[in-house]
């Protein structure tokens, strides 16, 4: 029997998180289905990073449940590494391993986690480096690449683990303007191939083009969830209106 409804890959149920006494996330409820692309935006400090970092438990939540492909994740869980391999993550500052070549950055995960041979891992790595259009840089070190190239390597590094879902935390906000397009193009290609994506970004063009839904956060809460057109042209909440006017203001 064919199941027409896509399977939920990432689910937040009543998730709360505090840093000390400071409430960073409050009653987060969100379900992201297979193949869906969700853009998260909101003012600085609203908890966007915290939310997506809870998905692979780089930050631990204290209340509520988070499920990845039907499996609950928690700070105490034994096999958190297994879950993390299913969730790719791309950071604002790339975080490539500076002491390794580009190729070694990519092969480390497959070799250590899946016991891939060097040859297998290399083939896989070259495949993904081709996809992000920098195969010719394989033997260089991260510092020899431009920011945009480094970010594309970081995307390829995550893809090497063949994740079910990719998380992006402001992947273009540390880049010079002329580098942004290259990275966004790679992300758009990835989206077109059907990858499930959760992207924290303020790139409205990208959101309009790719996102199925936009999630607007403020002060640790999800204020509004809407389709991109609707959100950008007619935001419902006052806070989203204020945020968008500020975003467009400069």
């Amino acid at each position: 029997m064919l199941d027409a409804t896509p399977r939920p890959l990432v689910q937040f149920r009543d998730v709360c998180k505090w840093y000390g006494d400071f409430s960073a996330l409050h009653d987060i409820n969100l379900t992201v289905h297979e193949g869906e692309k969700v853009v998260v935006c909101g003012p600085s400090g609203s908890g966007k990073s915290t939310m997506i970092r809870c998905i692979n438990q780089l930050e631990a939540h204290q209340v509520g449940t988070i499920m990845i492909d039907g499996e609950e994740v928690s700070p105490e869980m034994k096999n958190i590494e297994k879950i993390r391999r299913e969730v790719g993550m791309v950071f604002q500052n790339f975080n490539l391993f500076p002491h390794m070549t580009i190729l070694d950055n990519l092969t480390l995960g497959p070799i250590r986690n899946r016991g891939a041979s060097r040859a297998e891992a290399r083939e896989l790595a070259m495949h993904y480096l081709n996809r992000v259009h920098i195969a010719e840089q394989a033997d260089k070190y991260p510092t020899q690449l431009s920011g945009g190239q480094q970010q594309r390597v970081a995307i390829a590094r995550s893809l090497c683990m063949k994740p079910k879902v990719m998380l992006f935390d402001e992947p273009t906000s540390a880049l010079d303007p002329e580098m942004i397009a290259g990275v966004l193009d790679v992300m758009i290609e990835l989206a077109e191939e059907g990858m499930t994506m959760i992207v924290v970004t303020h790139e409205m063009g990208f959101a309009r083009k790719v996102a199925d839904r936009v999630v607007f956060m403020d002060e640790g809460e999800i204020i509004e969830v809407a389709e991109p057109e609707a959100f950008f042209s007619a935001p419902q909440s006052d806070r989203a209106q204020l945020f968008l006017s500020q975003l467009l203001g400069h």
């Binding site: 879950i83 969730v87 790719g88 993550m89 950071f91 590094r157 995550s158």
Partner: protein, 301 residues
């Protein structure tokens, strides 16, 4: 101005009148010290007697043979080598423990560091020496090591550990030094680990590496690279600090020097010669490490 003209020569660094005055006063001070020793103390310099304990001419065979001070130097080098190896192991393990979440490991490593840094090395070495030499070595059976044994009776063993008859004595010295310097290496390693950005941990964990792999493949290689210059400095400090184990009768350079000074009664010559030996040794290593560091920096670009 023509674009192709060579840049003006940088100003030469010249000695100013103040510099010359400074040098002159230092020289005068040294000359005065020499004068005091010669004229006022009426000290009879005799370098050749002391020098004989460095290298001696044997009239019977017509060859130069090494003597006590060179034996001592060899022991000092062995102490420095093994002391550094052990101190590095201690330092990497405890330095890592200093950074973990586990409270017990953190308390243990912190206590070790604070304990050793806050008692004088000499006191520590006396306490530790009497504990290990009276408790641990007999228990390990090191005191009745067979000097004709297969592993013991060869040149490699002698090269690495010196006289087999003095092995337990030598090991006691190595352990004392390693325990002592290990505390400082621990702090160097801790600083190195903490200097690796949080983002590196996160990226490594995000691709699903286990904790051990995160450390081994990502954090420690970067941390150790950052710690190499201070570790090299610590190695040189260890050579100098090794002189304190002369007090528990390890026959290294300072111990031998005490003997030579007592036998010859040529105190000045002995200690000046030994000071020069330490200086040459340590400064050579400093130059070597400086060169290696510059080379490594260049190859990494």
């Amino acid at each position: 101005m023509d674009r192709n003209t060579p840049p003006p020569a940088p100003p030469r660094k010249r000695l100013t009148a103040v510099d010359i005055l400074l040098f002159a006063s230092v020289a005068a001070l040294i000359a005065y010290a020499g004068y005091r020793v010669n004229e006022v103390l009426v000290y009879q310099w005799n370098w050749s007697r002391v020098f004989n304990f460095f290298i001696r001419f044997d009239p019977d065979t017509g060859e130069y043979v090494t003597n006590l001070l060179l034996y001592g130097l060899a022991t000092t080098l062995r102490l420095a080598l093994w002391g550094t190896v052990l101190a590095t192991i201690i330092g990497v393990v405890l330095g890592y423990w200093r950074t973990v979440d586990n409270l017990t490991l953190r308390i243990l490593s912190r206590s070790y560091v604070e304990l050793i840094r806050n008692i004088p090395p000499l006191v520590f070495i006396f306490i530790f020496y009497f504990f290990i030499s009276s408790q641990i070595f007999p228990w390990l059976g090191l005191d009745d090591l067979n000097p004709e044994g297969l592993f013991v009776d060869n040149w490699l063993f002698a090269l690495l550990f010196g006289d087999p008859a003095l092995l337990s004595n030598f090991l006691a010295g190595v352990l004392c030094l390693a325990m002592f310097e290990g505390a400082y290496v621990t702090e160097i390693v801790r600083a190195g680990i903490q200097a690796v950005g949080k983002g590196q941990w996160e990226a490594a964990r995000a691709i699903g590496l286990s904790r051990t792999n995160v450390l081994r493949d990502v954090i420690l290689p970067q941390a150790l690279r950052k710690t190499l210059p201070p570790l090299a400095g610590q190695f040189i400090t260890l050579i100098k600090d090794s002189s304190i184990v002369s007090l528990i009768s390890i026959q290294e350079l300072t111990f031998m020097a005490t003997e030579v000074a007592a036998t010859t009664t040529k105190v000045f010559e002995t200690w000046i010669l030994v000071g020069a030996m330490y200086f040459v040794l340590c400064y050579s290593f400093a130059l070597l490490f400086g060169w290696l560091e510059r080379r490594a920096a260049r190859s990494r670009r």
